[in-house]
Amino acid sequence: MRCPRILLPALALALVVLSAAPAAGQGEEVPAGRGFGARFLQALIDGVQFGVIIAITAVGLSLVFGTIHLINFAHGEFVTIGATFAFFLNASPAGPGWHLIPAAAAAVLFGALMGAAVDRGLWRPLRARGTGLINLFIVTIGLSLLLRHIVLVLYGTRPASFAQYDIQEAIDLGPVGITPRDLTVTLLSILVLLGVAALLQRTRIGTAVRAVSVNRDLAEASGIDVQRVVLVVWMFGGALAALGGVFFGLVEIITWDMGFKLLLLMFAGIILGGLGSAYGAMVGSLVIGIVAQVSTLWFPVDLQYAWALLVLIVVLLVRPQGILGRRERVG
C-alpha cells in the first residue's frame, strides 16, 4: 500500500521528463562542454536544492490550510519579509551589519512573531466577526498586496545578496559541482524538513496539529486547545517561511517580489502533494523544484517557473487529490 504511493512522485517526474523529451529536438542544442548525463545530474542536484527550499516555505502554508482551511495568499510575503529582514540586519547600509547567521536567526524569530501577529491581530478577530472563508481569501490577497508593496517601498527594486557566502568556488564532484554554500543550505533544509516531520509525529503539539487537521471539531471535543494549535501553526509557518526566504536569498538573490513568485511554486507543490498534507507539500515541492531545474535542459531558463506551474494544471486534470492525497474520505 505504501510502496506505490512512494513511487508515484518518481513516476510523475519521469512522465514530465519524458513528455518534454520529444520537444528537445526542436530546441536549439546548448553547446555542451559536458555530456547530457552530467548536465542532467547537475540540474537534478539544483532541482533538489530548489525543491527543499520551496518545501520549507510550503509546509507552513499547507499546515495553515490543513488547520483552518484558509489559503493564505500572503504567505509569499512572509518569505520576502524574512529575507529582507535578514538582509537589513546583515548587509543593508542602514542596518547594524550583523553576521548572516545571527541575522538569519533573528529573521526566523521575526517570522514567527509575524505569524503570531496576523493570527491574533487579523484572522482571529475576523473569524470572531463571522467573516466567511471566501472573504478571508480576499483579505489575504489584500494583505499580500499591502505587505509586498511596503517591502517595495522599504527595500526598493534592486536585487541584492547577503554580505557573507556570496561568491564561492564550487566543489568538484566528478561530473557535477556544488558550492559549499549551496551544499550547506541543501543539507540544512533537509534537516529542517526532517525536524518538522519529527515534530509532527513525535511531539504533543505535533500530534495536536495533526488532530486538528483531520477533524477540528473532534480535536476540540477531545480537549485540544484549537486556538493555541492554530497560533502555533501560524508562528511555525511564519518562521519556516522566513527561513526559506533567507535560504532562497542565499542561493539565488533577494528581491521584493521573490515571495510572490515562490508562492505560486508552493501552490504547485502543495496541490501536487495533496492539499492540506504537510508531507505531501514536501514531496510535491521537491518534484516542482526538480521540474523547474530539469526543464532548463531543454527550455529557456526564463520559462522554468512556467513549467512548474503547468505541472500544477496537469496534476489537477489527472489526479486532483495530489500524489499523497486521499481519493476518498472515510465516512
Binding site: 499580500s144 512556467a306 494544471i313 489537477l316 486532483p320
Partner: protein, 330 residues
C-alpha cells in the same frame, strides 16, 4: 500644490478609458464571483490573451483587426475551458489557485525568449491599433469641459469603452434576471441544491467562466488599443486584485457594482497618486520618507489595505445590502 491639477487628474481617470476598461473586466469578474461564486483570481490572464490575441494577429501575422478581435475572444474561450475543465468539479479553492497560477504562467510564457518571434517577448508588440483609430469619427483636437480634457483618440476609446459597458451591462442585467441567472445565483448559494433539482451545475459554471472570461478579454483588447502596445509585464497578478477591490467597493452581485466601483476606484486612486506627487514636489512630504518613484508602490499598498478594510467592514460595498450579505454563509 495645485489642487485643480489633482482634481483634473482624478476626474479624467475616473471617467476615462482606463475606468471603462476595468469596469468591463470587473463585470466579467462580477459574473464569476458576484453571481456564480467562482473564485477567479486570474482575470488578468483573460485580459492578457485578449490583448495578445488582437496584437499578435495584427502585428505579427498582418491580419485584420476584426480577425484579431475574433482570435482574442477565441483565446479567452479556450483558456476558460482549459481552466474550468479540471477545476469546476472541485472545491472553490482549487479554481482560485489554478487561475492565479495560470495568469502568471501565461505571462511567463508570453514574455519568454522562446515565444519572442510571436509575442515580442519582453518588448511586447506595438502598431496594431491603427485600424481602430482609423474608424475614429471624431476630428483631431482636444475636447473637454471644465478641468477635464481628452484627446480625440482618448475620446474615441472612451466612447467605445463606455458604450461597451452599457451594452454588456444591459445584457448581463437581462441574463441574471432570467431563469439562467436564477440557476447561476443558486450555484453561488449552494450548488448541491440545483444539482439535486436537475440542473447541470458544471455546465452552468463553465458558461459563466467562459462568458466572464470573454469580458476580460474584451477589456484586455481595449486596453491594448488604448496604450497602443501590449507588454507582458503590464499583466501583473495585481491587476486582478485591483479588479476585486473595485468590485467589492461597488458591490459584488450588483449589475452596476463594477461600474460604480471602477469610476470611484480610479478617481480615488489617481487623486491620491496626484496629491502625493504634488505634496512631495511642494515639499510637504519629505522625499526621505517617500520619493516620487515610490508613489506607485504606496498606491498598490493602499489598494491592498483598502481591499482588506472593505471586506472586513463593508463587504457589500456601496450598492449591496448589508442584510443580504449577512444571509450569505460565506
Amino acid at each position: 500644490m495645485d489642487f485643480s491639477v489633482i482634481v483634473s487628474d482624478a476626474l479624467r481617470s475616473g471617467i476615462g478609458p482606463i475606468a471603462a476598461i476595468y469596469a468591463l473586466a470587473a463585470m466579467g469578474l462580477n459574473l464569476h464571483f458576484g453571481y456564480t461564486g467562482l473564485l477567479n483570481f486570474g482575470q488578468v490572464g483573460f485580459m492578457l490573451v485578449g490583448g495578445y490575441g488582437l496584437a499578435v494577429t495584427v502585428a505579427t501575422y498582418d491580419g485584420s483587426m476584426w480577425l484579431g478581435v475574433l482570435s482574442g475572444l477565441g483565446c479567452a474561450i479556450v483558456l476558460a475551458l482549459l481552466l474550468g475543465a479540471p477545476t469546476l468539479r472541485l472545491r472553490a479553492d482549487y479554481l482560485a489557485i489554478t487561475t492565479i497560477a495560470a495568469g502568471e504562467t501565461l505571462r511567463l510564457f508570453y514574455r519568454s525568449s522562446w515565444a519572442e518571434p510571436v509575442t515580442g517577448g519582453v518588448f511586447g508588440l506595438q502598431r496594431f491599433a491603427g485600424d481602430f483609430y482609423d474608424l475614429n469619427p471624431i476630428p483631431r483636437g482636444t475636447y473637454g469641459v471644465w478641468l477635464v480634457e481628452f484627446s480625440s483618440q482618448d475620446l474615441w476609446v472612451l466612447t467605445v469603452g463606455w458604450g461597451l459597458v452599457v451594452v454588456v451591462g444591459t445584457l448581463l442585467a437581462l441574463l441574471v434576471h432570467s431563469p439562467w441567472g436564477r440557476v447561476i445565483r443558486s450555484i453561488r448559494e449552494d450548488e448541491a441544491a440545483p444539482r439535486s433539482l436537475g440542473k447541470n451545475v458544471y455546465a452552468y459554471k463553465m458558461q459563466s467562466l467562459v462568458l466572464g472570461g470573454v469580458l476580460g478579454a474584451v477589456a484586455g483588447m481595449l486596453q491594448a488599443i488604448q496604450v497602443q502596445s501590449v507588454n507582458p509585464d503590464s499583466y501583473d497578478p495585481a491587476v486582478t486584485f485591483f479588479l476585486y477591490t473595485l468590485l467589492v467597493l461597488g458591490g459584488a452581485g450588483r449589475i452596476l457594482g463594477p461600474v460604480v466601483g471602477s469610476i470611484l476606484f480610479w478617481f480615488v486612486l489617481t487623486f491620491l497618486d496626484s496629491a502625493l506627487r504634488q505634496a512631495i514636489g511642494a515639499g510637504y512630504i519629505s522625499p526621505e520618507l517617500i520619493s516620487t518613484s515610490e508613489v506607485g508602490a504606496v498606491r498598490f499598498a493602499l489598494v491592498g489595505l483598502a481591499l482588506m478594510l472593505l471586506i472586513v467592514f463593508r463587504p457589500q460595498g456601496i450598492l449591496g445590502s448589508r442584510k443580504e450579505m449577512l444571509l450569505s454563509g460565506r
